[in-house]
Symmetry: C2
Subunit: 719 residues, 2 copies
């Protein structure tokens, strides 16, 4: 089995954002599993806040040669080289700096972030510019190059890798360490006042660019938006991978539940209500959801690179038309959607401004190129004096209606919340694919237990490969939903652990083994973590596991009034750990798309109490408390849940009370449970869950996997 | 026994604030037991947020003729008359309106709020202007008088009383009801544009005045600050009670723990650190705490009317000097504090501005008269051009240091947090007075059970009177810490219930009885609620009681990392109720002063997640979940706790883990417990608590009270 690592999944928050101003300005899309303490987090805006997608899921993808249904992407060419070709690196920097003085560029420094133009969690190889220029292949990092210096910021997960991969031309900036400046602070120090600092405005969200601009203004520097070309692409040239050309497919109505016309109609109502006449949608999962389309442009997320402009009376999809099959073309035509070239988005924005459109822009996701194009164009046209003063977060059209020229509506995307609240068909698909996923996991665990009993030596990578093989045999399997985290012993304590084939550990009977994985299926998306021991766990491991399990149970069983934001429930998942002075440094739950991104907002369950989005019926959320003992072991127990109305005997306040229903049905290893710590109710929960697991999953199994499921769903008795 | 009601305890938030903009601008001092739902609350600033003091504690004060130690205040004269003298009311309005056209006044409307000049929870009679002018005696309300209209805003607690007490000249505005305008909205409707609306600037916090000014500017009206006299006082004349003249006393160092010089020295460090050279403190409990003094000017709170100005090199107390005994004078002199007349505060502010002082002002508590005097004076002096631009929330002195003239520091008072974190002596006093208070309560409950068994007819008021009698026999008892809430049956469901002698219910063996009361002692302050049944409670009552108890236990046992804000713990107290669709519409915990105000900030435990103040070692907080079934019964179980370090076996993150220690030791009625709902751990908590109650309180008791304590501390057994 070949291991094909695609490790460049982009952080949707630049290091610029996440490290520099964490206390004051948590990035819109927060780091789900960051290393900062819960209590240091402050508020930001409420409904704009959307969950940041974890990077704890970047591991490996393997292509099983025995299965044709696996679509994991091949490793980028430069990754294979690692940081070995140090001479080449220097040449890249030299070439980049030569461009600084080119006419139309004229900059003193250039920033190369990890992102693509859509704030995607997983990005196509051709957009992995930061990795190309620096040689550093971690998923999060920002490169900053001046005329005589080059620095790379990354966080604690990647310090070791960056040390290995960066050559001597680069300075490693260990973001989060005491005294380490942010990129803007560093630039304000190393540059003489009055410099020009260039960025590719497509690669910064409008908010991030604005914040960066303000920060470097303290050093009297100017932010230069270089629209015409990306400087890294200029030197990458022929060796740059081509943008993905994979065909787009229809997402069947039986899985989507609502047709495109209805979705567009709802969206247009929201536009009218907000006083907007058009919206630019740039988040790839929002486009895929809205159009009932799925793509294949990046690993793990079934999306395609595109922008979508929806006006009151029309819609345009900006996409490489070679990806558009006749069937998709027909589908789009039926929904009244025209095709445009991906690259023509800016001219469309200018046209919208020219005709006076009130454009709805989510400045936390729409890139600075688009925002700036709109604002600049508005000034060009006759109503330019009115525009600036009429910029509002919330627009109520003035009494002069449309006559005053375009009026931007800066609000979070209305698609995000609609996408998060699943309809019956989406929930049905999620339930179904979770059972098939559970069957694959049962087969996998049965196999693994057997292998280890037979003293077969298996690495973390081999184990993950085998899991993919089992999943790939399930109907409708398409891809892993993120890089599998397969961590034995001390590696389990590394929250974002990524085993490498040549250096990873053995999975054996001596240590805890943490496995966090998920699948993309035609009808849904899974994400599950189990922690197991194949030998005799220590008392310490059992106590910690049991306390994590108690947190998992407490959250699973929570009932709460309508309109409760997720963070209210977060402490339930920590309480048992807190009692003995333990905790975990990540959130407890994230949203999950239906046959879409494994991490989505806008809701979350987290100690970051800035996310005020209430949990709504039909939302899907993970329940994944954990505990990580440095250099020893890691524990995480994760199920996916969906929010449902609970039929409580009372309805105080005349409102509904909500709770959770489980999607995930895979045994939790009872060997790791210290039953003396569990309450009677906890034991009943566990037994009831295992009964459901047996009833729902055993019909899909036979042989040793069925026997394994039986063995692992036997009830516990508390005396 | 004579019942002397003092019902005018001021709401520290005007109706103006609390009703008009609750969703967007929660008032700094939030309503602890308001009727708004948790989930509708939004954030505000973080550390500035301070807990609003509940008004659920306004009931009656009784003077026991058998005890000379009781200092409850007599009822105001006008209260006795109630709203009967309707002719006089009209005369008052007529007289008030005649003043509108007086030179130097010239207003079209005048606002009369409930407050005194210090945002006090309990105010002196002479400041009960809104009650005088309107006849309405509720604790919260705002009167607005125009040339031809008069309207009074109050909230749901007081609709019935207001209907009775207001004469036909007044319109009752039922704040919170659908479609009821706020005072500013109403004024913007009923007044022609361009009117002048007058207020007494002493009676509005700076923030409230600013907000009101902005609101009426939408109607093109002008806010007129009438400094020279209060229009109501002008017509109140001779019948107006004189300001309190009660002597100030020393708060013994053995209770205060830290001497005044040390406290002032710490405060001055904070001033220097913030770039301030002086601070005006106007909150009466902050002055009392800082100076180790106690007063007797209002019911329930041992404070004196005063302002305190602390400069780097001196301090001045603005107080009626007839209250200052030679001993207190000596005490102040030793701490370097000069005396000034209470009324001369504004001229001192002007002097401070004149000499270029950088004044620290907490705009949420300092009144608009002071703020405005400072800002106006700054403009008068040579540095006037610099002042405006140098106003900052946080001041770092410019490079030109002090030379640029005064520079205001607008921040929350630094005294609030220092006062909230109790030192060892304060905690010792709190522990001691709680045991004596518990002894009084044991005597009281033993007496009451006996009376009811003997079929003696007792009203809610008589029962509260008797409780005061028992408390008054305890060493060091001074006053009730708030008006006792004595609610039988359906009255218990009225969170702010105030029984009246001529209309209150009987306490009998048929219904639940809720008793929320507290005492002011020389060494501390108590606040306790118990709910009991003297007959056979229904299954419903037992289930609800048990779920409230489970919430109480869950919060009591919580362990949490350092720096956790109280709201993180709030859901623990609601979880058991939520499971069956029940909830309560008030917060779970408030701060309590040490021999000071029964409600203090800045911390709280509440569903209002805007209060980011972490719970710190030494803070005192109430634990009082409840459940209220309209027209049926009310349940609340309240202990006071203090925050302590917990010796956890681990210290994940290298930080401390905190928990609570109980101050209150009074039995919880086990008859009301449905043991089938309790976990084994819950039962153990209850038995352990009752064992502590017996061990700590029985030595203070003999006879029937000791027997009652024994009977009511027997362990439960869960089979």
């Amino acid at each position: 089995m070949e291991s094909l690592a695609a490790s460049f999944s982009a952080s949707t928050t630049t290091i610029l954002n996440s490290s520099s101003k964490l206390h004051h300005h948590p990035p819109r899309r927060f780091r789900f599993l960051s290393l900062s303490l819960p209590i240091f987090h402050k508020f930001k805006t409420c409904h704009k806040f959307s969950s940041k997608f974890p990077n704890h899921l970047n591991l490996l993808i393997v292509r099983s040669s025995s299965s044709s249904s696996i679509t994991a992407k091949p490793s980028p060419e430069f990754q294979k080289k690692g940081g070995s070709d140090r001479k080449e690196e220097d040449n890249k920097l030299r070439a980049l700096r030569e461009l600084f003085t080119k006419p139309g560029v004229n900059v003193d420094a250039y920033i190369i972030p990890s992102q693509d133009a859509h704030q995607s969690e997983f990005i196509a190889e051709c957009y992995m510019r930061r990795a190309y220029i620096s040689g550093f292949t971690g998923s999060a990092g920002t490169a900053v190059v001046t005329k005589d210096k080059a620095a790379l910021w990354t966080d604690g997960r990647y310090f070791l890798r960056a040390e290995k991969q960066l050559n001597s031309s680069w300075v490693l900036m260990r973001a989060g360490n005491l005294g380490v400046p942010t990129p803007s602070e560093w630039l304000n120090t190393v540059l003489a006042p009055g410099c020009r600092i260039g960025i590719d405005p497509f690669l910064f969200s409008s908010d991030a660019a604005k914040e960066f601009k303000e920060d470097i203004s303290k050093g009297n520097h100017e932010l230069v938006l270089l629209y015409d070309f990306n400087l890294v692409d200029e030197i990458w040239k022929e060796s740059r991978p081509t943008p993905p050309k994979e065909p787009i497919r229809l997402h069947d109505l039986k899985y989507a539940g609502v047709d495109v016309s209805s979705k567009l109609s709802s969206l247009r109502s929201e536009l009218r209500h907000a006083g907007a006449s058009a919206i630019v949608i740039s988040m790839l999962d929002e486009i895929a959801w809205l159009l009932n389309l799925r793509g294949n442009d990046v690993s793990h997320s079934p999306v395609m690179y595109a922008y979508l402009v929806v006006e009151i009376d029309g819609a345009k999809l900006f996409v490489d038309d070679t990806k558009v099959t006749p069937e998709v073309m027909e589908h789009l035509r039926n929904a009244g959607i025209e095709l445009r070239a991906y690259e023509s988005i800016l001219s469309e924005i200018e046209s919208l401004a020219a005709k006076g459109a009130n454009l709805w822009l989510d400045t936390s996701s729409v890139n600075a190129a688009i925002l700036n194009a709109y604002e600049s164009a508005c000034y060009k046209y006759p109503w330019k004096s009115a525009t600036k003063s009429r910029r509002k977060k919330t627009v109520n059209l003035d009494s002069d209606g449309q006559s005053g020229g375009p009026c931007a509506v800066y609000r979070s995307s209305p698609v995000s919340l609609r996408k998060a609240v699943k309809n019956d068909a989406e929930l049905e698909g999620m339930r179904n694919c979770h059972l098939r996923d559970a069957a694959a996991l049962a087969q996998f665990w049965a196999w693994l237990e057997d292998e280890i009993q037979r003293d077969v030596i298996l690495t973390e990578v081999e184990v993950a490969d085998k899991l993919l093989e089992f999943r790939s045999h399930q109907d409708g399997f398409l891809d892993t939903s993120f890089d599998t985290i397969s961590g034995s012993g001390a590696n389990g304590a590394i929250i974002h652990y990524k085993p490498e084939p040549d250096s990873c550990s053995i999975v054996d009977e001596k240590e805890l083994f943490l496995l966090d994985s998920g699948g993309q299926y035609i009808d849904g998306t899974t994400d599950i973590t189990r922690t197991v021991h194949f030998g005799e766990p220590s008392a310490r491991e059992r106590e910690c596991f049991t306390r994590v399990l108690q947190g998992h149970i407490a959250l699973d069983q929570a009932v709460f009034p309508e309109n409760t934001p997720g963070f209210v429930l977060d402490a339930f998942a920590r309480s048992s750990l807190w009692k003995v002075g333990l905790d975990y440094r990540h959130g407890t739950g994230h949203g999950v798309g239906a046959a879409l991104n494994v991490h989505e907002g806008p809701h979350s369950i987290s100690f970051r109490f800035g996310n005020m989005t209430p949990l709504l019926r039909g939302m899907i959320v993970s329940n994944e408390p954990g505990y990580y003992e440095d250099h020893q072991f890691g524990i995480r127990i994760e199920n996916l849940l969906y929010v449902k109305e609970v039929d409580t005997p009372n309805r105080f306040g005349g409102i509904g009370y909500l709770g959770f229903e489980k999607l995930t049905f895979v045994p939790i290893q009872t060997k790791l449970v210290d039953i003396s710590l569990l309450s009677v109710a906890d034991v009943e929960w566990l037994n009831s869950y295992h009964l459901q697991v047996w009833e729902k999953v055993s019909p899909l199994l036979d042989g040793s996997a069925r026997q394994w499921l039986w063995n692992n769903t036997r009830p516990l008795t508390k005396l």
